[in-house]
Symmetry: C2
Subunit: 339 residues, 2 copies
DNA sequence: CTGAAAGCGCTTACAG
DNA sequence: CTGAAAGCGCTTACAG
């Protein structure tokens, strides 16, 4: 475990550092280093468990073989699953990932981007707060490799991998309509994020094509920081007088959980009194009684595409064409919508 | 966004790199650099958004301000929560964390440890597979700072932060006994990990002190890789003939989920037909009907202590005394145990 | 008060 | 086939 460096090998074997470095980087043959020398070096390195110091190599080569991942919150299962995929995929290509959570804080995110650059990450994967136009634009101008996931900047031309939020919510709303629901509530958070807006639009669109008039009273947008407190009143307004909705679409998994708790408290039966569906899910959604109908996001694909696009860009694919992926969600119908 | 380096500042301001470096590292006063010079440097750096290249600084200083985190799986909510805490805490001290998942694979974990060392992390936090005695011992011999979390090596003297698994399961088993349960099943995974063994011992211990004879038939240890298939038979054996247990303790959250699914399939009512409790929980456990009684692990404390102990060690606290924390779990009683 | 220089551990043209 | 040397961008004794 004694740390051994390049110089030690060179000295012990009476060769130059150049030779050792070349051989260890598989450039021995290209540089026509004798098989014998190569073998001696390789054997010695293996025996003494030599590994190049990554900092030194990175400094010298100008790349760190590290990918930076900036997400709102690693403790959110949606992001931790994506992180897991990214990690797996990155490892295949010999990249390590360093992650940091922005907690949906614009300033934190900005600092994180800077900090990651100082740390010389070779590329960045960001699920952004969507409030850092300037930084993103600068990254782009500097031709720094990055790809946006989950949230993108509609006004900036970048690589991104997102899901079709509009389509997902439209489908599930249509599903509810097909089941005969006519008074469908929609509970969301304040639409700072485009993804959240799209979910609303999807809901509205479904109503529109079915000639169901939109009722503003059915649409509730809570504050992301104290949605739990607000949920109490909102649920009562929707399922009680005067609205008496017969279904509710929750636009995130945590809203679903929170809303369901309130429904239980006021003894409102799902799906008999009100049908519910959730955008995104948690692992126990099938065990809740009734099991929750949910729009599932393809987390694996998001992670995999993100890494692939990023690596492409890092290899300097001169194409300069941005890669964009808008993935479809999947509707998993369970009992909570009354089907 | 144009990248600017130390030399650029020195040149522009007609001072030496030494002076710039000193000032930027807050050593200006110590080295009695004139206030004026300091101000000029600071202003220039701020204006041009200068940040030191971390690789270079790390190489030069011999430390990277990075903590390595090796866990079985970042997609497991238990670990992602811990990761989140570790990240927050580390950030307070200006450390970044790089994580990698071992997937419970001993060889992978071994490689990860090596790889993290190459990357010059300053310290390591590991939730180990408990099969890498040699590597852990080497880390210790090399006096490399590290702390074990969640799982420790009983035979090696190291820093660690774990929970009292024995106590947690003993308590919940006692709780079941107090409720009048007499035929208590225990479903676990093959006890490769000490933590898992302790859970069994806790269960057995509770029976012992209550003079309830242990019945081998009540104890089921599944294979971690295909517990889902095995669960089917195991649940039937326990709740059906000939055992007819009146309660089941699940030793992990995913076993609980899997077991509950099977119970539903055979229409076995919880808690009337059989009471259940879970070691560890998922975020929707309170929404499941009946809500699941669970033994909660103090994830925040685990993460926080781990970082604190690690930083202490990294600062070379000569004390050479290992820090050990064995944290108590918390029993959250819900309806699934029939109370 | 400030600077020249060595060093961290690599990589890589360049030269022979 | 192999080596001397410069360079990556910092930090830090040492000297004045």
């Amino acid at each position: 475990m004694k740390k051994i460096v390049l110089k030690d090998i060179a000295k012990s074997l009476q060769v130059s550092k150049t030779t050792v470095s070349l051989v260890l980087n598989n450039k021995g043959d290209v540089h026509k280093i004798s098989k014998d020398t190569q073998k001696r070096i390789l054997d010695f390195a293996r025996k003494h468990n030599y590994k190049a110091n990554h900092l030194a190599r990175g400094l010298s080569r100008g790349q760190s073989e590290t990918i930076g991942l900036i997400i709102p919150n690693i403790a959110d299962v949606f992001y931790s699953k994506i992180a897991s995929c990214i990690e797996k995929k990155a490892k295949e290509y010999n990249y390590t990932v360093v992650f940091s959570s922005s907690n949906e804080n614009t300033k934190t995110e900005k600092e994180l981007i800077l900090s990651m650059m100082n740390r010389q990450v070779d590329g960045l994967i960001i699920a952004s707060t969507q409030q850092n136009e300037t930084e993103i634009q600068q990254l782009k101008n500097a031709k720094f490799p990055f790809v946006l996931i989950d949230r993108h900047y509609p006004d900036i031309d970048t690589n991104y991998v997102i899901v079709d939020n509009h389509d997902g919510v439209k489908n599930v709303t249509q599903h509810l309509i097909n089941l005969g629901k006519e008074k469908i509530g929609f509970i969301s958070i304040e639409p700072k994020l485009d993804a959240i807006k799209q979910r609303l639009y999807g809901y509205q669109d479904a109503l529109l094509v079915n000639d169901i008039p939109e009722n503003k009273e059915y649409i509730k947008e809570l504050n992301n920081n104290n949605y739990q407190q607000q949920m109490k009143g909102v649920i009562r307004e929707l399922v009680g007088a005067p609205n008496y909705v017969d279904a509710i679409v929750f636009s995130t998994h945590y809203l679903t959980v929170s809303g369901l708790r309130e429904l239980r408290l006021i003894n409102c039966k799902v799906p008999d009194d009100v049908a519910i569906v959730s955008f995104d899910e948690l692992s126990a959604f099938d065990l809740i009684d009734p099991a929750i109908t949910a729009i599932i996001q393809p987390v694996n694909k998001i992670g995999n595409y993100a890494v692939e696009i990023l690596l492409d860009e890092m290899e300097g694919s001169k194409t300069s064409k941005e890669s964009r992926k808008i993935l479809k969600t999947e509707l998993v119908v369970r009992k909570s919508c009354g089907s």
